[in-house]
Symmetry: C2
Subunit: 314 residues, 2 copies
């Protein structure tokens, strides 16, 4: 299958490698001509996961997405709409992006005028690039597309399950990054794994509340795209959102954390998610807390407030 | 309130400190006369959490449990029945023990002839002893007892919630240690956080399947005693069951891991849980896998088998 992967970050790089190993004809699309040239010349991505062999790529280009049987989008949510609009033809899209559309506050699939699927789960790019085993779900409103993708993507490295709940998978992927910011905050404050486990438990409940309000299946939130991705993101030392939360808890601003780490989807998603919650009339206390910290509230006071609330039934 | 804490391990020690801070009159019951004497002489437990100040204890004894308004049992599940039988009077019992009764395969509460409650959640003793914040649930068939305990135990360190689902909380506490052995196995094999997150996700589903078969509430499994305790146990570096799984994956036997670590509840619980699953006619594949490894099966082959099964719907 001719596949164009748009976005040459860590996940786009590792996913391209997976696709090459599965025997597909892969074009990697970078927005940076110098990066594309370096990948072409060396068979490596100098900036992300330089250990990954990309010499099996069909082509590398910085001239925008070519025609393909499948377009894989692996860009930050802030660039998703523009990337989607730039795709030629009407072939299906597989999104690896985890976030909401910042402009509309909607799920990314709502922007698509063509067959659309998302892939999500606990999938650290560096581990997958190293050949360590992982599992993911593919979700689509088009069941045949989901099954086709399962067939074309599954390998000894990545086990792919089909989840018919597109809404739930998209919301999980967006919301878990915000909870990971909070989990990183617990790390940054040195509060320990007891507090972090309690926070993440509440975080998953918050994600499921959002999902229920949007018509998602509760099962999705206890599956790979929900619980699985959430716990990986919250504990993996290299998780970007976790790290950003840790830096912010230690006194950096959101902007400073972004300057240090690069793309931090949770920082983009938190205010979008808060607005969505307000529109839906539901409470997302952890997301609200993250937003107020990003707006300058005092983190220690917020944590102290949480711990001194009168306990009730769970 | 006059409280006797039976069991001077790490959790009994840290919990005694919590109770002292809450102003209770606490007797700590050790099974070891030399240990009791050392605690009496120094105000510290020389063997477990020696940093914890126990000078506020009312008494320390190795002469068995005294009369008290409340007995707290903090002994391994293998000694639970004998400890329970040794308690004088008919005052309520609060169990901190996480396991099943090895003799009968039943939940520990089924052994009790007196008012009974359990406390569970992500509660590493060392973190609580260090004054780091944590949350727990108290569950009892007697709602008034649960509320009373919530009132008497809650502090700035430990937030206590009431969960009316005694069956679910007991099953979570037992089963999570078995899943943690498997998670430690993933660590020991160096398979990474993607694989570990996928395993733990499947593990919680396995716990919930057991719970449903036993009449527990599904909500318990996504709460502090289920998900919360599970993820803490699976990721905290010092988690005994996680560490034991890591050692076993690296070639030690269960007995060798126990010799190195001390009490490892998951090793006691795994075969008991397997028998329970067989009686109930339900499948617990991770628990079965752990049992077959403890019986001498090859771990790598088991993992390889899991990864090459044909993926289906999630």
């Amino acid at each position: 299958v001719r596949i164009a992967v748009v976005g040459a970050g860590a996940w786009g790089t590792a996913f391209s490698r997976l696709l090459i190993e599965r025997g597909h004809e892969v074009t990697l699309v970078s927005r940076d001509a110098a990066q594309a040239e370096a990948i072409r010349a060396t068979g490596r991505n100098p900036r992300y996961l330089p250990g990954v062999d990309l010499s099996g790529l069909h082509t590398v280009t910085a001239d925008g997405p070519p025609e393909a049987d499948l377009h894989v989008i692996a860009v930050p949510s802030s660039g998703f709409a523009a990337t989607l609009a730039s795709l030629p033809g009407d072939s299906p899209v597989l999104s690896l992006t985890k976030g909401l559309d910042p402009a509309s506050g909607e799920r990314l699939s709502t922007l698509a005028q063509r067959p659309f699927a998302v892939l999500s789960g606990p999938n650290f790019a560096a581990e997958i690039a190293a050949g360590l085993p992982a599992a993911a779900v593919v979700a689509s409103a088009d069941g045949d597309l989901a099954e086709l993708l399962q067939e074309e993507l599954s390998s000894v490295v990545l086990r792919v399950y089909v989840n018919p709940d597109l809404v739930g998978v998209e919301l999980c992927a967006a919301a878990k990054n915000v909870i990971a910011l909070a989990a990183g905050g617990v790390d940054g404050l040195g509060l320990g794994d007891n507090a972090k486990a309690a926070l993440v438990t509440r975080g998953l409940a918050e994600m499921a509340r959002l999902g229920t309000a949007c018509g998602a299946s509760p099962e999705t939130f206890s599956g790979l795209a929900g619980l699985g991705d959430l716990i990986g993101t919250c504990w993996h030392p290299e998780g970007r959102n976790r790290r950003a939360g840790e830096l912010i808890a230690r006194g950096r601003t959101g902007e400073q954390a972004r300057a240090e780490i690069g793309t931090v989807e949770g920082l983009t998603t938190a205010p979008v998610l808060r607005n969505l919650a307000h529109r839906l009339g539901i409470e997302l206390p952890i997301t609200e807390g993250i937003c107020s910290i990003l707006d300058g509230a005092d983190l220690s006071a917020l944590v102290a407030g949480l711990m001194t609330r009168r306990p009730t039934e769970e």
